[in-house]
Amino acid sequence: MARSLRLYFRLLSIQLRSQMTFRISFWIDMLTTGLLNVSYFASTYLVLERFGNIAGWTIAELAFIYGMAEISFGLMDMIFSGFDPDWFSNFVRQGALDQLLLRPVNLFAQLFGSRFLLRRLGRILQGALVLAYAFANLPVAWTAPKLAYLPLVIISQIVAMGALFMMGSTLIIWTIQPIEAVNIITYGGVEMMSYPASIYSTWLRGLFTYLVPLVFLNYYPALFFLDRPDPLGFPVFAPFLAPAAAGVMLWLALRFWHFGLTHYQSTGT
């Protein structure tokens, strides 16, 4: 384990060094992704300004839930870059997975170390700005339990989204080709997390409650942080299920990954 971590950080430092050598393209990338995402929120903001709220959620409350999802997704996208299904399918097709399998090193350490997109900082920063706006405008008392739970929720979100990336990549071990349906779950799931779950139709909410339990990762914790009642009638501990839901998702993703690898067919002759 310690050896895997050491190697991961060594591979990481190589990644960062090579990304920093192309400094100009790095800053442009970071700025454009940041600006793009700011414009998403800005357009929502303009709409909200006219209506005042969505389903009883104020702009600050919406900013809170959106900012959390953005920060987590940005961090996940940076840390789990090597498991991004779109990138991973190219990686497998070029036979690069073979190269990793030939090394006497934990495969995860190598895959995590194969890609680390620093330019995702743009999206993270943008999420942080939106979250800062929420903090400044929310009439909420930030008690000690809330402050302690907040980082735990963010970590759970990163783990849960990362697990989705991993599952998507496992499918690619079979198909080699990228599968659009996977993106519906990953990117669609994140999009869903950016808004209160109560605005969605029952079947969609059901999908993200029972099949991919993302509502427990952002919506329910948000109810707790914002002192809002639960309109859906789940047990009172529902807001605190985030770490458990993330843990289960990660466990399933790991099992699926190991199973998938025994069916790996490699490429070429």
Partner: protein, 330 residues
């Protein structure tokens, strides 16, 4: 001595999606995927002894790469038994690959964006090679392979020959006891090929490393291997020495003769009439039934001869005959 690799009845079947063309086709693929099976390896058995350098031959799609991918722990076979270095490769991957090396001619195992030396240095912690052994090996191999001039060049900027040499060095730094070479001379010029062959022979002889070599260039095999295995359609057709292969399957030798005078009839008793062109004649004979010395004696007894040359068919032709005529099939 106990074998280092033991393969029994190895089988690997791939399931391949039949892709239907067009938009409606890709929708159909999604809803009702159709598969067909490719039996890449169908019951292959062999042993490798420590220190062996064995040529693994076969036409494209014969199942060579699949065998190597199973033996390197990349693929899980569909059936059969594989023990190598006392382990089951795919089941104990991390421990197993520590003692093997692999070189693939068509792709590098190095880090594309890193200078060669950084790539090689990265292998030291990965394989936990003791520092002084690492330095000693790096020095020896980079001298033998003449890596000096391009140690600081990123791998992506290397020529094919340079890349192959760097890859060979990388595959051996951790002193593996078992090395797989998949087309190590593919696309190289004569000089580069020779350098690689010499290096392979050196490592096999001096360090006793067991090697399995697949190649399409049969002169690699003639130069390096005493033993060859021939694979076709997923089955092993031949496993034995190169000498025996030639003795059994070589086609006729030829004898080219330049006469000193014009002869109208140059035929010899017991031989097909030769091909003629001016003062030249080319005889074809089965050297197993009639040694070349006897043919030459018979010629000298009858004709005045300026020059003669005995030619054996190239190994390539022998192997081609084996595939084409299925000589080895029961």
């Amino acid at each position: 001595m106990a074998e280092i690799v033991r393969v029994r009845d190895l089988r690997k079947t791939f399931r391949v999606l039949d892709r239907r063309p067009g938009l409606s086709g890709s929708l159909l693929n999604l809803v009702a995927p159709r598969h067909h099976e490719i039996r890449a390896v169908e019951g292959v058995s062999f042993d490798l002894q420590p220190g062996d350098l064995v040529g693994y031959l076969g036409p494209n799609g014969a199942g060579k790469s699949t065998t190597i991918k199973v033996l390197t722990g990349l693929l899980v076979p569909s059936g059969g038994e594989v023990r190598a270095r006392g382990m089951t490769p795919w089941a104990e991957r991390e421990r197993y690959v520590r003692g093997i090396g692999a070189v693939f001619g068509n792709r590098t195992t190095l880090w594309w964006d890193l200078p060669v030396i950084d790539s090689l240095e990265l292998l030291e912690p990965m394989y936990e090679i003791p520092r002084e052994r690492f330095t000693r090996n790096l020095k020896e191999f980079s001298e033998l392979l003449d890596l000096g001039p391009f140690l600081d060049t990123p791998v992506r900027s290397l020529s094919l020959g340079q890349r192959m040499r760097a890859d060979l060095c990388a595959a051996l730094l951790h002193e593996p006891e078992l090395v797989f070479l998949d087309e190590p001379t593919i696309g190289l010029d004569v000089v580069a090929k020779e350098a690689i062959r010499q290096f392979i022979r050196h490592v096999n002889r001096e360090r006793g490393v067991t090697m399995l070599l697949t190649t399409h260039d049969l002169s690699d095999v003639e130069r390096l291997c005493e033993r060859v295995m021939i694979l076709d359609h997923g089955r092993l057709l031949y496993d034995g020495t190169l000498l025996e292969l030639n003795a059994r399957f070589e086609s006729n030798w030829t004898l080219k003769v330049d006469f000193d005078e014009e002869y109208r009839d140059a035929s010899l008793p017991g031989l097909q009439p030769p091909l003629r062109e001016g003062r030249q004649a080319i005889y074809s004979f089965d050297h197993r039934a009639l040694p070349s010395a006897e043919v030459i004696q018979a010629l000298l007894a009858r004709f005045k001869i300026a020059d003669l040359e005995v030619r054996r068919p190239p190994l390539e032709e022998t192997i081609r005959r084996i595939y084409a005529q299925k000589l080895l099939l029961p």
